[in-house]
Amino acid sequence: MRGIVPAHPIDLVDLTGRKIALDAYNAMYQFMAKIRQPDGSPLMTTWGEITSVHSGIFYRTANLLAIGMIPVYVFDGEPPAFKSATIAEREERRREARELWLEAREAGNLEEARKYAQQAGWLTEDMVADAKEILRLMGVPVVQAPSEGEAQAAHMADRGDVWAAGSQDYDSLLFGAPRLVRNLTLSGRRKLPGRKEYAEISPEVIELGEVLSSLGITREQLVVVGLLVGTDYNPGGIKGIGPKRAVQLVKRAGTLEGVLREVGWPFDVDPTELLEFFLNPPVTDDYEVGLSPPSEEDLLKFMVEGHQFSESRVSKTLAMVREAYKRLRSAGGLEEWL
């Protein structure tokens, strides 16, 4: 989707006072991939518990709060049945990457080890539960989606309860998020794959309305474009069809039905079912998006005693969270009533 979607760089400062519904799994996988030691090993306690997710959730969330943003973490619920193939494939890839990582590390090839380690990131139930607990103790809202987190985040943005959905994945747009912010949960630098260079990455915002008007298509047609170039449920899309061709095809053929008369559908999953899922995914209106006061003592204990984080660094970050909370609570003040 990248080439056809107009994205605008946005200063973190411009996100001040904004609530953003973050795709929690998307963020956690990034933390798992990026927060690693030089040989690719994840952060770990002396008893072998992996804490890369803990670190990312705590420090990155604190940073977002400190710049005045209110993150709302949306967790996936039950994946749709037709996702099982994708999930199985991903697990297989991770398992392979994990073996390659261990081999590369054994051979002392750090560059390779790092690369495979990033691909090998897996999340356990304990990590997810701990991430929720850290967020709860930080006073940051957690939303449990009935199905896909991205769909729920898009729904919340659509209702105006949050300013945007935050994810790396363009699927949010297909789910109807009026606004998508990318690169929020990454740090300022990202290593370019396979090279020793770093690219400066900064958040960017994509407006659904602008995407649709610049391409001259409807949201339903955008979903069809997505299906052609690939979504989470039909990874890779249809071979030989890139984003630009997909748009042309959709504009010419008009509907999914029309498109399918021109190209074959190589996936098991029914494309009509996918279209319907993107347009009307299971979502809930039962959620809260407000900050609560941070439970500082419990959080310090959880991070330091529970997961061997540095007491001084956690304390400093907690002070930041406390200040941010105070500031955010009265943001806006009487302005809108004057």
Binding site: G290, L291, S295, S330, G332, G333, L334, E335, W337, L338
Partner: protein, 253 residues
């Protein structure tokens, strides 16, 4: 002695002292308006826009109100409060403005005169904020400072709620709660009206800055709407519109 351009006198220093202090607790500088019809008025928005104070003292509360025309002056309220603190209960207070100088004259058995500089005052009109309040209560003013102090024992935030039965304040969370309930038949409650029950949260530190006018008012009117700003109005005895009004932004998250 040369006559000042504007000259206001009050027999009772307590009124002007309390009024100035109730402004000074929120802002350092504010604009005052003197108007031959309206009287003496102040409207000041706290710098973070968390709170607004509006004051109206009708000309009748002054023993002398010589104001030839409407005029706005910028006043350093911290300084004015300090000067007025010197007034004894039996003193008559005179405020005399000439050019950019205001003289505060305290006249008792002898006369003390302090002068302070005025600044260009921003123009304003007293007007209510655009909040549709859905519930309200009138309570005995003098109880309010005590209620705020009681709540401070248990927290820094207070949830205020009004329904047909009572006005309730609660503070604190994990470390235990403080709750104060004023049932409608309590002698402290003069009146409760409810279109829709309302409940909202506010900073106690700010409410604490809003208790001073209890000294000069018998009735405090509290108006509330869920998750919206709060309005407190301390009426001057014998007046329906005159007094001190505060608005306080709710804690919104």
């Amino acid at each position: 002695m040369r006559m000042a351009e504007f000259s206001l006198s009050l027999e009772d220093p307590k009124l002007i002292k309390s009024v100035v202090e109730s402004i000074e607790s929120l802002v350092e500088e504010a604009s005052i308006k003197v108007d031959p019809e309206e009287g003496f008025a102040v409207r000041a928005l706290e710098t973070a826009k968390t709170a607004l104070v509006q004051v109206l003292l009708p000309r009748e509360v002054f023993s002398k109100f010589e104001v030839p025309e409407r005029r706005f002056f910028g006043v350093n309220f911290t300084e004015l409060a300090r000067l007025l603190k010197r007034a004894k209960p039996s003193d008559v207070v005179h405020l005399e403005i000439e050019g950019t100088t205001m003289a505060v004259r305290l006249v008792g058995d002898y006369t003390r005169r302090f002068t302070m500089r005025l600044y260009g005052g921003e123009e304003f009109e007293l007007r209510p904020l655009n909040v549709n309040f859905t519930a309200g209560a009138r309570i005995v003013s003098s109880e309010f400072p005590r209620i705020v102090q009681d709540l401070k024992v248990k927290g820094s935030e207070v949830t205020l709620s009004i329904d047909r039965e009572s006005v309730r304040f609660s503070a604190g969370a994990e470390g235990g709660e403080g709750e104060i309930s004023l049932p409608r038949d309590s002698p402290v409650v003069l009146d409760i009206w409810v279109d829709e029950p309302a409940r909202s949260m506010y900073s106690l530190a700010f409410l604490e800055k809003m208790v001073k006018p209890a000294a000069i008012s018998d009735e405090l009117s509290i108006q509330l709407a869920s998750d919206k700003p709060l309005k407190l109005f301390y009426a001057l005895p014998g007046f329906s519109k005159a007094g001190v009004t505060y608005y306080l932004a709710n804690l919104s998250l």
